[in-house]
């Protein structure tokens, strides 16, 4: 019976104006999305490879002397992701440049031209289309699902037969979801075809798995709005009233609530400032310099002449390492504060299902804040690997003092680190690793849980309301 009702719903919807309009609108948008993405991806990849190769050739120049490799600040850029098509995650405005050497990593920065004068710099992606346009379409499909049938009198006819009410509800739900899935899948196919046929982006098995997960999450998200529509539709007797309530709920939940939460958070929370960081850095450095005798005799003294008896290289190296460790720790703390603040702001905005959905899609696609933070972690780990490499190579040079300290002058004039040439092919190079799918799923599991919870709540509400619905 459920199947029959669902079939009737689907057929009825397929012929309606709203279906035609939503298919037209979403297909156009998905096509534009695919096209824009392919162009942007081409540009970004070109840029990325150019800059990465520049960085590598600069590093190759340094490899004539081992110590130079250690001190050269390498620029690491964010690789354009193929799945930014699905969820771009505001990456346009997130940091994309990390500078690292064997001893330290600078705070992430945004490099390149971003026009901050434009109203918003989020690219059009699947998550945007689904969260704004298709969720709206879901309401347009369901607002008269029950009260409309009551108005036209068919509901009482249907229930006069031996059909239990829950079957009617489930049938309608299934029918609407199928109708809604048509523009969704169609649009996604169109933009995928545009992407794959351009030949710019390699899509492998892993990507297909991610894409199908995103499709599933999208359906889960849309189902919330279908259930909400059915709930409101079975609370009201008049379809314009149900539309008015639904529109209000949509506007508040999808558009106003995220912005409202963000601004409340911004007003309530203070940003950690650069001045504060500088002040703390100066303070810590001063403290270490003032107590330099702690690290050994004459640690604070340095003469470029390696034979100067006043020099105490091990003490000097200890002092400089302590300075660098303190700096790195403060930078890390500052970075963590930034990250915590950004994540907390987004968590706070999670009252809105649209934000939950976008966050889940971002996690699955491997983009957004978490990815940038992970890239920073990877850059730091790479720095540590490079240091280990320098240490092991340095052992081979008998003339070196084997003091892997962060002071370039020391390495240069005292030969604290070897000055021998090193084979460039042996120097470790930075390689970005994507998060494993299981890890991104772990990131998204809470969000999926929340989406399921929303579904259950609205389903229960719709179920109870429809059971008590007065069909007269």
């Amino acid at each position: 019976m459920i199947r029959q009702i669902a079939r009737k719903e689907v057929l009825e919807n397929l012929l309606s104006l709203r279906f035609a309009l939503s298919v037209l609108l979403t297909t156009c948008l998905f096509a534009v999305c695919g096209h824009v993405f392919v162009n942007a991806h081409r540009e970004q990849s070109k840029d990325y490879w150019k800059r990465t190769n520049e960085n590598l050739s600069a590093l190759a120049e340094q490899s004539n002397q081992l110590y130079k490799v250690a001190f050269y600040k390498q620029g690491i850029y964010r690789k354009p992701q193929p799945l930014a098509l699905c969820a771009e995650g505001q990456e346009g405005a997130l940091p994309n440049f990390f500078e690292v050497n064997a001893f330290t990593a600078d705070l992430p920065r945004t490099k390149g031209q971003v026009n901050f004068a434009l109203p918003q710099f989020s690219h059009i992606d699947w998550a945007l289309i689904v969260s704004l346009i298709l969720s709206f379409a879901a309401l347009v499909f369901t607002y008269d699902g029950i009260c409309g049938e009551k108005e036209s009198g068919t509901l009482s006819l249907m229930l006069a037969n031996a059909v239990p009410r829950h079957k009617v509800l489930l049938g309608k739900y299934a029918g609407t979801m199928i109708t809604l899935a048509i523009p969704l899948i169609l649009g996604m196919l169109v933009s995928l075809i545009i992407m794959v046929s351009s030949g710019e982006v390699a899509v492998g098995g892993r990507e297909w798995l991610q894409i199908s997960t995103i499709v599933a999450i999208s359906l889960l998200y849309l189902s919330i709005f279908v259930l909400l529509g059915m709930f409101i539709s079975s609370r009201t007797g008049h379809s314009p009233n149900s539309m008015a309530i639904l529109l209000l709920a949509w506007v508040v939940g999808v558009i106003l609530l995220p912005s409202l939460c963000r601004i409340i958070f911004d007003v309530a929370c203070k940003e950690p400032t650069d001045e504060e960081l500088q002040r703390r850095l100066n303070q810590v450095r001063e403290e270490i310099w003032n107590n330099h005798e702690k690290y050994g005799k004459n640690a604070g003294y340095m003469s470029n002449d390696p034979n100067d008896p006043g020099n105490n290289p091990p003490a000097r190296a200890r002092l400089q390492t302590a300075l660098m460790d303190a700096t790195n720790q403060l930078l890390q703390e500052h970075h963590n504060k930034w990250l915590e603040q950004a994540l907390a702001r987004r968590d706070f905005a999670c009252l809105s299902p649209a934000v939950i959905y976008q966050r889940a899609a971002e996690a699955i696609a491997g983009t957004g804040i978490n990815r940038c933070a992970d890239l920073y972690r990877q850059a730091k780990r790479y720095g540590a690997d490079l240091k280990e490499f320098i240490r092991s190579r340095d052992m081979e040079d008998p003339k070196s003092l084997h003091l892997i300290g962060p002071e370039q002058n020391m390495a240069y004039s005292w030969r604290a680190i070897s000055h021998d040439p090193v084979g460039f092919e042996m120097v470790p190079k930075f390689q970005e690793r994507d998060l494993a799918l299981s890890q991104s799923l772990k990131l998204a599991v809470w969000d999926i849980g929340l989406l399921v919870l929303f579904n259950l709540v609205f389903f229960a509400a719709a179920f109870v309301s429809f059971l008590k619905y007065d069909v007269r």
């Binding site: 104006l17 940091p95 901050f116 106003l256 650069d274």
Partner: protein, 516 residues
């Protein structure tokens, strides 16, 4: 007859559920939004006043003219609560330095890079989103709904002309929607004005007045759009679906698409190109400065002291060095000033490519009344791109004033007060005494000379007094209300034209409407 129809329609509209929901939502949301927006404004105002006060205090301790390198800030716009525009995206502070360009931190965002600025949030959002939907909802069944009920046929079978019916419905709709718009505006204003730091000048009231007019015109346009669909469709369900889809296109698709298109059509000037031009300019400057040769070999004594803004000044130095430095400044500062102006041109053209993209996006989005309305509100609130342009121009003028001020005070940068707190006479005397010690033949003469220097130093202690900035051209940000108002005219006109066109189309559609 029009009035009768209007009155009936108005009363009917007021009783509808959708109107109640929409109107209550507007008022409640405004009451919730405004305190938050006001708190946000207060915070920005506090930051601004703190920055300005700190900066002025530091400027007042400057000891030599060279170190007048203060920063000027753009005050937050009080009406940003009504329309935030670009208020938060463009930070708006500029560093004034004599031989460098005003460094405009408008294109570079500081602070947490993980916190991207997303959609703006302000009072005009309520109008943009909720009032526009409400207008569509009130209008969608005005004609097609009456046809479905059969009352339209009855009405037109009387002696009433069609245009009267349409006008009556139009007047009724406008009056109905005027009620929530007015109440929302009033509630917003009352809440905002209840905060002590908010003070409106007469120009602010003019701005608010025009904002209200713009809001009414926008609401009328959206209502007529709904009415048009109502006149085009036979069934009210169809006109509602049409209205909603056009709304989502206007509210979400067009603003996003115009930005996308603008970035594609008019790409930004590349950073490499700009950096290259700046670099070549720097090289030119260095080579030109290299031609200036001043002999410092006779200088004897070094004593510098730190000053405000991270600068330093010469405390007590010999006359040879002083004269050499004076000569150097008189020769090099004009060259540096000339190059600073040139690099300002480059910065300006870079900034212009940003602004041009923004302008294009804005013009493209003008087909949507929602975007047009948003732009008008931003212009009126003084948070638009043009007001930033204005700020940048003022900064430039201020820099020129400061340069002129320093030039006049230091005799074309040649006076010692430009970089030192000692005068030439002092320095000459000091050098004479100092040289006496150096040239002393025996111990006795040397002690005597040292004694003389010590006595002289006691009589003439180092006077590190701050500069007298009585006639300093302090920066005062002038918001030009007249300019903003005249800038808003095209947008306002566009809204009115939309109204007229929509009305004409409605009229034509309704005249041919099949009432059966």
């Amino acid at each position: 007859m029009i009035w009768k129809i209007a009155k009936k329609e108005f009363l009917l509209n007021l009783m509808t559920f959708k109107f109640a929901v929409g109107a209550v939502a507007c008022v409640v949301l405004t009451a919730v939004f405004m305190p938050i927006l006001a708190a946000d404004y207060r915070q920005r105002l506090q930051t601004y006043s703190r920055n300005v006060a700190d900066n002025e205090a530091e400027l007042r301790t400057v000891k030599v003219y060279r170190n007048i390198t203060h920063t000027i800030y753009r005050p937050p716009a009080v009406l940003s609560a009504f329309s935030a525009g670009l208020e938060k995206q463009l930070v708006g502070s500029a560093n004034i330095e004599l031989d460098k360009v005003p460094e405009l931190s408008v294109t570079e965002r500081k602070g947490n890079p993980y916190l991207p600025i997303l959609a703006v949030f302000d009072e005009s959002l309520i109008f943009k989103i909720i009032v526009s939907i409400l207008a569509l909802l009130v209008a969608y069944d005005a004609v097609s709904g009456e046809r479905e009920q059969g009352t339209l046929k009855l009405m037109l079978s009387g002696t009433v002309a069609r245009y009267q019916v349409l006008l009556g419905k139009l007047v009724a709709g406008l009056v109905t929607l005027g009620v929530p718009v007015t109440i929302t505006f009033a509630v917003g204003l009352v809440v905002l004005l209840s905060y002590p730091m908010v003070a409106f000048g007469s120009s602010d009231w003019a701005r608010v007045g025009l904002m209200f007019v713009a809001s009414l015109a926008f609401t009328a346009a959206m209502y007529q759009l709904g009415l048009l669909f109502s006149c085009l469709a036979k069934r009210s369900a169809i006109s509602m679906v049409l209205g909603l889809f056009i709304w989502i296109i206007f509210a979400i698709v067009i603003p996003n698409a115009s930005v996308q298109l603008a970035t594609q059509v008019r790409p930004l000037e590349s950073q490499e190109q700009r950096d290259g031009r700046l670099l070549s300019l720097k090289q030119d400057l260095a080579s030109e400065l290299g031609t200036v040769k001043v002999d410092f070999s006779a200088s004897l004594i070094t004593s510098d002291e730190g000053d405000s803004f991270g600068g330093y000044y010469a405390k007590r130095r010999d006359i040879y060095w002083l004269n050499a430095e004076q000569k150097l400044n008189a020769l090099t500062i004009p060259i540096k000033l000339r190059y600073a102006d040139k690099s300002l041109e480059i910065e300006r053209s870079n900034l212009n490519s940003f602004l041009a993209q923004r302008h294009l996006a804005r013009s493209l989005s003008c087909i949507s009344p929602i975007s047009t309305y948003e732009n008008v509100m931003a212009i009126l609130a003084g948070t638009d791109i043009t007001s930033f342009d204005h700020f940048i121009n003022q900064v430039r003028a201020h820099r020129n004033e400061v340069v002129e001020y320093i030039r006049s005070k230091t005799g074309d940068f040649s006076s010692a007060s430009f970089f030192a707190i000692c005068t030439e006479a002092e320095s000459a005397e000091y050098t004479r005494l100092y040289v006496q010690i150096e040239k002393a033949q025996d111990e006795q003469a040397k002690t005597k000379a040292e004694q003389a220097l010590k006595e002289w130093e006691q009589q003439n202690p180092v006077k590190a007094v701050p500069l007298n900035l009585q006639d300093f051209p302090w920066f005062k940000y002038r918001q030009s209300a007249a300019r903003d108002l005249s800038n808003a005219i095209p947008g306002l006109a566009a809204l009115f034209i939309m109204n007229v066109v929509l009305f004409a189309t409605c009229f034509a559609a309704f005249a041919r409407y099949d009432v059966r």
